[in-house]
């Protein structure tokens, strides 16, 4: 089908694959990008929040024509129990700036746009093409791919594995292990459509302003998990995710958790009357720094979710994906510029560059958080949310009980649930892991 040999083959047309393909093609490399979906984005799922800074570094004038939903001016963090939420929220008019910092996006639309840019930059993009196998030479260097289309292998100097969290190629080829159940979360999501003015009224928004709610607590039934609600222009993305290991242990059904979240008294009025148009599910890498696999080898590099590059604490993924794709592309351009072969020793440049970026620095900062949250999920996602709700209600309800007795009752409840030592140790361990 394709006779020529390419400088690079990019497997996957998500955030990292598009960033890599765009970066390389715009610098004149011959790039073939292969996507198994009918169109770029048709297999991709995200919340989704897009971070402008990282896209600006790839496509500076993206705001001119990218399909952006709302720029975020408000973020709410909720700790929920079954009937309440205790919240912290931050809203600032400073976020109404000429070049806003964060936008909600709808991935299928955004990815089509990004892919158009990749084509315009000169890459060949082939959809409906599943890569079935990496092709190696006698010494084991990856030299191309086989696909499920007619014809023989397609060759390239280097293959960029941007195949996502559920990437088969890298695991099958033994380049990395399957993610562990405790290193990935399963998230389910629904798209709820409402007229834009209804969304603006319910969330107190004007024009393209947007709001985000992120919530943890008893909604995840003691599993380590997080629920979210993002406002798009004329829809609300809403979902919940928990660690796969916790799902396997509790045998909770994700769609039941999702329906419970939707029916929670704090959420129900926000989505009332909406029309649901899609239900999706996706894995999210949660293992952090310690779960990052080998990122490069002879003739290949891995980027984005395929390389587990996701900051679960800040719920950032697409920006790490875009940045790793861009950096991989830049490293490959640099090596090609020196007329050096795409072998392991040279492709180590990608990791060196990535280590210097926020991607690895941020993941390093929180390297101990995944283990802490996983081993203490019951305390963080069940006990403390309940205690917090009781404390808040105790503080607000006026019932003739003297305030001093109310305070004592709240303190006693915390000690009873976690013990003095338990409380201290939770705080210390959290502080150490955050540091």
């Amino acid at each position: 089908m394709i006779e020529e040999e390419f400088d690079a083959i990019v497997v996957g047309a998500g955030m990292s694959g598009n960033a890599a393909a765009y970066t390389m093609a715009s610098q004149g490399l011959t790039v073939l990008q292969l996507e198994r979906g009918e169109y770029p984005g048709s297999k991709n799922v995200q919340g989704a929040i897009m971070y402008a800074d990282m896209l600006e570094q790839i496509i500076p004038d993206f705001r001119d024509d990218a399909p952006l939903e709302r720029h975020l001016v408000e973020q709410r963090f909720w700790v929920m129990d079954d009937t309440s939420h205790t919240g912290m929220q931050y809203r600032s008019d400073d976020f109404n700036e000429a070049k806003p910092n964060r936008y909600t996006i709808i991935r299928a639309q955004f990815d089509k746009w990004f892919s158009r840019k990749v084509r315009q930059a000169g890459a060949t993009v082939l959809c409906e093409t599943t890569v079935t196998e990496l092709v190696r030479n006698a010494s084991g260097k990856v030299i191309g791919v086989r696909t499920d289309r007619a014809g023989g292998p397609i060759y390239a100097d280097v293959v960029v594995l941007a195949e996502g969290v559920n990437g088969l190629l890298g695991t099958r080829a033994g380049l990395r292990k399957m993610p562990k159940p405790e290193s990935v979360a399963l998230a389910v999501k629904e798209m709820h459509f409402l007229p834009d003015e209804v969304i603006e009224q319910r969330f107190g928004l004007q024009g393209d302003e947007g709001c985000v709610i992120e919530a943890a607590g008893t909604i995840s039934r003691s599993m380590a998990g997080l629920a979210f609600l993002y406002t798009n222009k004329e829809s609300i993305s809403l979902g919940i995710g928990c660690l796969v290991s916790d799902f396997a242990q509790t045998m909770e059904s994700p769609y039941v958790l999702l329906d419970n979240f939707k029916n929670h008294a704090s959420i129900r009025p926000l989505i009332a009357g909406s029309e649901v148009k899609e239900y999706s599910a996706h894995l999210i890498p949660e293992g952090g720094y310690k779960a990052i696999p080998q990122l490069f080898g002879d003739g290949w590099v891995a980027v984005g979710d395929a390389a587990q590059l996701n900051n679960a604490i800040h719920r950032e993924g697409s920006n790490l994906a875009m940045t790793s794709g861009r950096i991989a592309g830049e490293a490959i351009i640099e090596i090609k510029g020196r007329n050096q072969p795409m072998i392991r020793r040279n492709l180590a440049l990608y990791k060196t560059m990535l280590d210097k970026s926020f991607v690895v620095k941020d993941l390093m900062k929180y390297k101990d958080m995944p283990a802490l949250i996983h081993t203490n999920s019951r305390n963080f996602f069940m006990t403390y949310p309940q205690l917090m709700s009781q404390a808040a209600q105790n503080f607000m309800r006026v019932d003739g009980t003297p305030k001093i007795e109310k305070e004592k009752a709240t303190t006693a409840a915390f000690i009873k649930a976690r013990s003095r030592w338990g409380l201290i140790s939770d705080v210390v361990r959290l502080a150490l892991a955050w540091r």
Binding site: R36, T130, P254, E278, S280, A281
Partner: protein, 99 residues
């Protein structure tokens, strides 16, 4: 909640989605077994598309038409060989309208 009710709930959700099913080529297969492992059994509850179900003999079977290709079952049961998971052929499987 009974299994029948949860199944209905999932089917209502999946009904919103767009799929291009590749007839006669299921992309997931369950290895024949006498008794399912804990992880395989868990899939009958935690698969978000409810692709896994118990048959009368207490064995786990799969129908992958509603699969959203998340990979949860791969993470839990591929390494042990209990399931075989391949991507659908190019263009087939779930096609997210919004994602």
């Amino acid at each position: 909640m009974t299994m029948a009710v949860t199944k209905l709930r999932v089917e209502e959700k999946l009904y919103q989605n767009r799929y291009l099913v590749d007839p006669g080529r299921p992309h997931i297969k369950v290895r024949p077994h006498e008794r399912p492992s804990a992880n395989l059994l868990a899939l009958t509850h935690i698969c978000p598309a409810k692709c896994y179900e118990l048959n009368d003999k207490g064995q786990v079977e799969t129908t992958s038409d509603g699969c959203m290709e998340c990979g949860t079952c791969r993470v839990l049961c591929e390494t042990s060989g209990e399931i075989v998971w391949n991507y659908p052929r190019g263009g087939f499987g779930v096609l997210f309208k919004f994602g």
